[in-house]
Symmetry: C2
Subunit: 296 residues, 2 copies
Amino acid sequence: MVIAIVAATILLGACSSQADDRPTMTGVLAASSDTDWRKPSPDFLLYMELPSGQIIMELAPDFAPNVIENIRLLTHSNYFSSSVILRSQENYVAQWGDPNDETGNAQPFGDAAEKIEAEFYRGSAGLNFVGLDSRDPYADEVGFVDGFPVGKDSDSGRSWLTHCYGMLGVARGTAPDSGNGSSLYVITGHAPRQLDRNVVLIGRVIQGMELLTTLPRGTGPLGFYENRDEQLPLNSLRFAKDLPESERVDIEILRTDTDTFSRLVESRRYRAEEWFVDPVGKIDLCNVPLPVRIAG
Amino acid sequence: MVIAIVAATILLGACSSQADDRPTMTGVLAASSDTDWRKPSPDFLLYMELPSGQIIMELAPDFAPNVIENIRLLTHSNYFSSSVILRSQENYVAQWGDPNDETGNAQPFGDAAEKIEAEFYRGSAGLNFVGLDSRDPYADEVGFVDGFPVGKDSDSGRSWLTHCYGMLGVARGTAPDSGNGSSLYVITGHAPRQLDRNVVLIGRVIQGMELLTTLPRGTGPLGFYENRDEQLPLNSLRFAKDLPESERVDIEILRTDTDTFSRLVESRRYRAEEWFVDPVGKIDLCNVPLPVRIAG
């Protein structure tokens, strides 16, 4: 048995040969045109520097404008300079914030608010929603808005970002308005969709996700680190807009309102690659890839 | 703002106070009786020792008896003594096997077969199936059989294990019968359910999952490690039955065919904890916890 060949084709049909005329993801992306890609606004890109490397996150101001603005104020008052990774819980989340928050040494908020009315959902009107044909366990309808996974309810007329792997959210206490953006989390496990509309999501990780998923798990309750020396410090957390051009990565994201994206979804719904015995024919929201590339 | 309290209640309602009379997971487990738990058979427990620690996996002979038997033969001929972690792909899988498989130094198979007819599914008759009321994106019906997540199709009369986080499967090449158990993988990301019925699942990790999820991601295609010195060696891979009693962990698993498990599912469907603004009322197959405890 030839494992290296096995290995190269195993578990990801995109790299194996094509069995019929349906497109594969590799083929769809190769055929994309430059207009299928967009450059995210530096106003809504967050760069987080850890000792282990850089994480880039795109924010979704259509869904949580107020808390995103509060985070901008926090970055401008240097709030995150004393922040650390507080927690890494297996199959769940990584979370960062000020470890001295409870003490007299808490980092000052500057012009930022300590309470923000929770932006758990918004009205569906005015969103650039592209539906996904999928039987979702949690939402009546699902799809994408400008690169973010979204749930939608016709009766209430509401839409919300969904807790897929890699989504970025605002930690909160029991009071819904206690999520002010001073402590953030990223989903590092199977989509915990029960959190949808219970916590405010504000965006997603588009680069460096592995720096969060490979963090040692904390041994305290909920994956909190029990000792200060286990807490990895944030070197910085800044908006791209506040960085010199030379420090910005020229990143591009596939538009979700394009024919190319529709074809991409279909290539992942029907698996044309020879490796697949059963071509599936189904897909779920959090399994749709949202491609990112470095320009040039 | 009081982050330590926030932190303790955040994102996991089970630890926060209860808002109504519905049960929480903590309460359901505290009220469980000893008969709600079972000791898995040492014939179907795999112990894998990595330099970083121990991983324990429970096997599901009801679904893949032949390849499980082949793995037993491989362990008896010491096949895995030269195996390493070959691959860690972000949001997908960790995989191990013989790095010399393609060379003249391939580990011999002993009495084990090199080809095994793929056990992608089986007939539903005779299974101890407990249904889950959930709108599943991939399967007509879903539920549990003796602690494993299962999909079911009434028309074909078939059932199969599903690719949830932590599930253990048999790597294969393009030929369906090439999955002989000499290379195995564990799901370390959002459930890739498109693999259901395309690869043979044989069980799940019940202890030590974090040792696999925190592995550095391989930098080669599909997360393969590009250099030999990145490949973590397996110190051993053995069935519990072949270990001295003193080296076995006295592990217990919550039975899924009990009222306690039904109550557990309901406690995760309707989130009674005060922290939840929206009690959800929905659940998906791969978000149902399958509790494990050390006896005594």
